[in-house]
């Protein structure tokens, strides 16, 4: 049984159908990427998992139905949404405290682990999150998610608007997290190159449907995927 199961999930924004029956699995300790063009339904897929969009079909996490965003968080899903979902008016430290909201653990221990991944956050601890640079904000979003010690991380375009070096750093952290601590990752990306280099499996979405799925290596070898998404 996989950790996360989506079966025939449909979602709509008003009259517009964004997902038309998506089925997808993320296993325990899996690293899965979702690729696709703008408007293919990548963001909506993540939102369907955490329940931040109205959807039908089945979304199960660790065998249990996921209904609300707060329920998803409490079950062990940390969703870093489009636009990062950090609290711009609060300090870096307050953002991290909020990340651990569902847990009764030692805050300092968890924070030390996050600062280990992103030393820059420690330097900016008391700064307002909205004043951080884009890369630092992405680190904060990821750090806040890690404070929850999630079983599954959902990431929406972590590379968006960031310098290539920062993107590399963030994906290296994700791989390390996945390999060393067994955190499952489901990442949505425009940047197919780096996503396929990090993930073990991937799905390609087109207008709300899964059109290709398979191991990252197979997808990289797939002629049409290569031409449409990898650009060579």
């Amino acid at each position: 049984m996989s950790l996360l199961e989506l079966r025939d999930v449909e979602a709509r924004y008003g009259p517009v159908k964004a997902l038309q029956g998506v089925s997808l699995d993320v296993g325990e300790k899996d690293f899965v990427a979702v690729l696709g063009a703008n408007g293919a339904g990548k963001t909506t897929t993540l939102r369907a998992v955490s329940g931040t969009v109205r959807r039908s079909g089945e979304v199960r996490f660790a065998g249990k139905k996921v209904r609300t965003p707060e329920g998803a968080a409490r079950a062990g899903i940390a969703h870093v949404p489009e636009g990062r979902g950090t609290f711009a008016e609060l300090s870096v430290w307050e953002n991290l405290r909020l990340g651990a909201y569902t847990r009764r653990a030692n805050l300092n221990e968890d924070a030390a682990r996050v600062f280990g991944f992103f030393p820059r956050l420690q330097e900016r601890r008391d700064q307002q999150a909205g004043t951080l640079s884009g890369g630092e904000q992405q680190m904060l979003a990821l750090g806040r998610a890690l404070m929850a010690r999630p079983r599954l991380l959902l990431l929406d375009e972590p590379s968006l608007g960031l310098a290539p070096l920062v993107v590399k750093e963030i994906f290296e952290t994700l791989v390390k997290l996945n390999e060393d601590e067994g955190t499952a990752v489901l990442v949505v990306e425009q940047n197919a190159n780096i996503a396929l280099a990090s993930a073990s499996r991937a799905y390609v979405l087109e207008v709300g449907r899964v059109v290709v799925e398979g191991a990252s290596d197979e997808l990289r070898a797939n002629e049409s995927v290569r031409r449409s998404y990898l650009g060579y």
Binding site: T52, E70, G85, F87, A88, L98, Y101, Q128, G134, A148
Partner: protein, 299 residues
Amino acid sequence: MIAAFTWTEFAEQIVSGLADGSVYASLALALVLIYRSTRAINFAQGEMATFSTFIAWSLMNHGFSFWAAFPVVLAISFAGGVLVERVIIRPVEKAPVLTIVIVTLGLALLLNGLMYVIWSGGDRSFNGGFSSRTIKVAGAHISIQYIGIIGVLAALLLVLGLFFRFTKLGLALRASALNPESSRLVGIRVGWMLAFGWGLAAMVGAVGGMMVAPLQFLGPNMMQAILLYAFAAAVLGGLDSPVGAVVGGLLLGLTIDLLGRYVGYIGSTLKLPAALLLILVLLLFRPGGLFGRVAERRV
């Protein structure tokens, strides 16, 4: 035309202005607490505070001392605020702001009517927790009651400030007001945070009601004028800012008092419009109020 000036009298005016301002500040703070999360002005805030004060009056009629009734009233007010949000506001939570405002207006009328039914209206005297004597400080006659009111507000602010800054629940309340969607994603039950905010607001308003009642008479309409001052104070401070509400309240209290006393042709009849005119002018230059600021953002 300036009236005769002495420093002792000036000190007395400052204290009474701050005491009035403390009452406006507490109600303004209650308005802001709700505005931040609901984005609507709670027109029932005054009536809620008066209702709480009537409960205090009833308890004191049944042998409670003021200070024994005080925490009981705070607890009842909190529960009442939570109940109001769950039962009356919840169903219209997603409706346009105007709908919510109309619902709070209806709630104000309802509570006002209930007070006439339960306590049969009529103004009655209310003995507060402080002596009405004055003490002499460096020649000035300072009312103990005024000092008490200022002290209670200061204590209230300190407790609230610590709560919002250092507790997990306080942080969750702030987060829910700033960004409900992200709050849900970290596992905060935002619906309950809204209810909690209403409870807090009812409690803060109740403190204002119990402080002002001894200065006037207790009746169902006691807070109506004060609610207007509280609106003005909240707008002056910036509707989004609790600190602004308090500063706005204190400034308004001081301005009204000092204008009335020291600017001859304004006197006691024109002091209120004059103070509101000042606010209007200030808002022309700072439309967001004194503390209403927009967070700096980078992408």
